[in-house]
């Protein structure tokens, strides 16, 4: 293919994904309509994830006022926030709950968008950026987990990073050393220490927020440009105006979510879901305490990792990653019924592994 032709085709491709003539208030806000049908609830999930993200920014900035990212002070400052700062426990607890709720709504958003075939032409970019946002959200969770610098945080991070090194054993020749090098770049020193904490802090509060903001911008722009995907096969009987009708409904869902979050934050400390000694400051000289595990949203990969050979999981993860990035093309001609079955199966797997993962693990490992 000749170069001018390639350029022309790329241009045409992008013009279809980002139609400039639609980039105005009238067609992005005023004319946008939302279909009303059985699966309409799925349209709320992205907004909900966005809401929790906004809460994370607000509470995160608040925590920044007191948190100190050094090995000696990190745990003490978190303790100070929880025990001494007025409403500090509430703010930190909301930050913890909202992170979990954000990931939960992102997961549901992914599955419902998949089931509704919301990735079809011209929405490929929306889907790809969405997958990237999911990855960043998980990275937020992983980096944030280390910051309190307690036993479970440091030990879980150690294990998580060590997993990267494990990949080396399955790579040929010179490549075998790459994962280790990568781990050390992330870790910053021989063991998880001050350098790791500084790097994770920078990732968690600067790099990831900036990248999520950029990608989220593209994601939301695409959503507003192309409107809501129809979501079901038959033509929906009724359409709702996005502004103000649907927008107000979205806001009321946010209001309810905020109330739930606030009540959770007030009444149920997130830390109470773990055994206490895990929240002692990290002790470099002691043995690793029992019950070190990642956050619940990693269970779907953590428990299989415990049960199955490492290479199986790595292969599975790679396949999953490729399939997710290539979903718009792989499932181009799949009908919505099949997609729904796949989404329900994936959802069932996630729920079972998250809720019963530990039981399943004990079933096989005794």
């Amino acid at each position: 293919m000749k170069l001018p032709e390639t350029i022309e085709r790329t241009e045409a491709y992008l013009a279809e994904r980002f139609p400039v003539e639609k980039m105005n208030y009238a067609s992005m806000i005023l004319k946008k309509e939302v279909p009303v049908h059985r699966l309409s609830w799925g349209y709320y999930m992205g907004g909900l994830a966005l809401f929790f993200f906004l809460v994370q920014i607000a509470t995160g900035v608040m925590l920044l006022f007191y948190y100190q990212p050094t090995v000696s002070d990190a745990h003490a400052s978190v303790e100070y926030i929880t025990e001494h700062v007025p409403a500090g426990a509430l703010v930190r607890n909301i930050h913890a709950w909202a992170s979990s709720l954000m990931i939960a709504s992102v997961m549901v958003h992914l599955l419902s968008a998949f089931a509704m075939k919301a990735f079809g032409k011209p929405r490929e970019i929306t889907w790809i950026t969405g997958v990237a946002l999911l990855g960043i959200t998980f990275a937020f969770g992983f980096t944030g987990y280390l910051l309190p610098w307690h036993q479970i945080a440091v030990n879980a991070t150690k294990i998580g990073l060590q997993t990267i090194e494990e990949i080396g054993a399955y790579l040929p020749g010179q490549m075998a050393t790459w994962p280790k090098a990568m781990k050390e770049i992330i870790q910053g020193e021989a063991s998880v220490g001050q350098a790791t904490l500084s790097r994770f802090f920078a990732l968690h509060v600067i790099i990831l927020p900036l990248s999520i903001a950029g990608i989220l911008g593209i994601h939301l722009l695409s959503v507003q440009l192309h409107g809501m995907s129809q979501g079901v096969d038959e033509k929906p009987r009724r359409m709702e105006k996005f502004f103000p009708t649907y927008f107000l409904k979205d806001l009321s869902v946010w209001g309810v979510a905020f109330m739930v979050l606030f009540i959770l934050g007030l009444c149920l400390p997130f830390d109470s879901l773990f055994a206490y000694p895990l929240f002692e400051p990290f002790n470099a000289k002691g043995s690793t305490p029992d019950g070190i595990k990642p956050e619940w949203y990693f269970f779907w990969v953590y428990y299989p990792l415990e049960l199955l050979p490492f290479w199986v999981i790595m292969l599975g993860q790679t396949v999953l990653g490729v399939v997710m990035m290539a979903t718009p093309w792989i499932f181009k001609n799949t009908n919505r019924r099949t997609l729904k079955v796949l989404a329900v199966a994936a959802g069932a797997y996630l729920v079972v592994m998250t809720v019963f993962g530990e039981k399943i693990y004990h079933l096989f490992k005794g």
Partner: protein, 438 residues
Amino acid sequence: MVDAFLFVGLPYIAIVTAVIGCVWRARTNRFSMSSRSSQFLEDRKLLWGSAPWHIGIIVVLLGHILAGVLPQVWSSILTVPGALIAIETVGVACALLAIVGLSALIYRRVTSARVQAVTTTTDLVVVALLLVQIVLGLLSAVHFRYGSAWSTGTVVPYFWGLVTFRPDMTYVADFPMLFKLHLVGAWFIILLLPFTRLMHLLAVPLQYLWRAPQLVIWNTTRRRQHAVAATIQADSRRAFLKGAAGVAGATGLMALGVSEKALNFFKGPHPDPEADSALLQKKLQRLQLTAEERSYELERQRNDMILVARYAELAENKGRYFIDYAMAPGLAFKGKDGLPLVISAKCTHLGCTVGSELDAQGRVMCPCHISYFDVQTGKPNDGAPAKLPLPQVGWALVDSTGKVVLSRKPGESMQGKVDAALLPQCSLYITKPGRGIA
């Protein structure tokens, strides 16, 4: 005799007549129950008359009814300091409001030609009677102060006597004429209830508070369309206002709660000096711990040998943690032969720190993924997640004079020898990989 008629006979006549008459009128002429409206004919003055009159009289009447029906509740309210003054003030103010309103209504009724066209004689009687009655009440309130308090012991028992068919007029017999007239006026008003527009008391349009607005129009097509449009607009305005009020209220409450928390959060704690110094102390301890760890690092960079423990501190079934040259944890045991046993404690699977307790088979366990390592060889058990053995760590035994008596490099054989009796005076060191032993 006159008193007996006015305060026992008249009340019963009035009540019986009112009850029978109202029931009869409600059943035979239902649509006459509400007061005939003249708003259609004149609505400017009506507003300034009707609104103050009704507001004033409703408040005053509710006060009378509450005191009469629930005297004990009423008395208990009055015991609150200032309540008596407040109630009297409100009562007098409302009576004045009612008088002003009623006067405006009378003026309107006798000056507007249109309103006169629909005015009956009974209307005029009623309105005059009401004015007299409320003026009498106001005068009583001003002349005989604190009626809201003294009435509970006089008028209320009299009223209850009538209701329970044990009329006792002694309660009211000695009242001044002014107040007696007020009482008689009340019975007259009740007597007139079924025969006049006063019956609209029993047709309070409470549903007006939440029903959609209705427009009364001349029924022509153009006006009808106009009215429909107006109704739709009013409806949507009502819905919008209701929604906006709800949203504004909720947002306001939320903002109030959130900003209270946020403000205090940024203001920060102000611990008392004792708590403050406790905090500072804790912080210093953590800093010292960190400094200690950092000094280990320096020590490992500079020294070829590092003290792990005195020999006497070693145990056979419980290892002693130390930090090796790679800043990773290690474990030191006393072997069965009495010589030290020094291995890395960093699990070869995912880098957790293995436990220090030996089990019956002489193994330590990694708690993360349950691998058992034999401390003699460092080898993991079969089927463990860890595949590689825990590496041995080079060590040296130094006697009390500072001389190395025994040492071992990983993978090499033991160098030197030591008398078992001298062992307790020795200390265990680890040696830097790649360096000779001094």
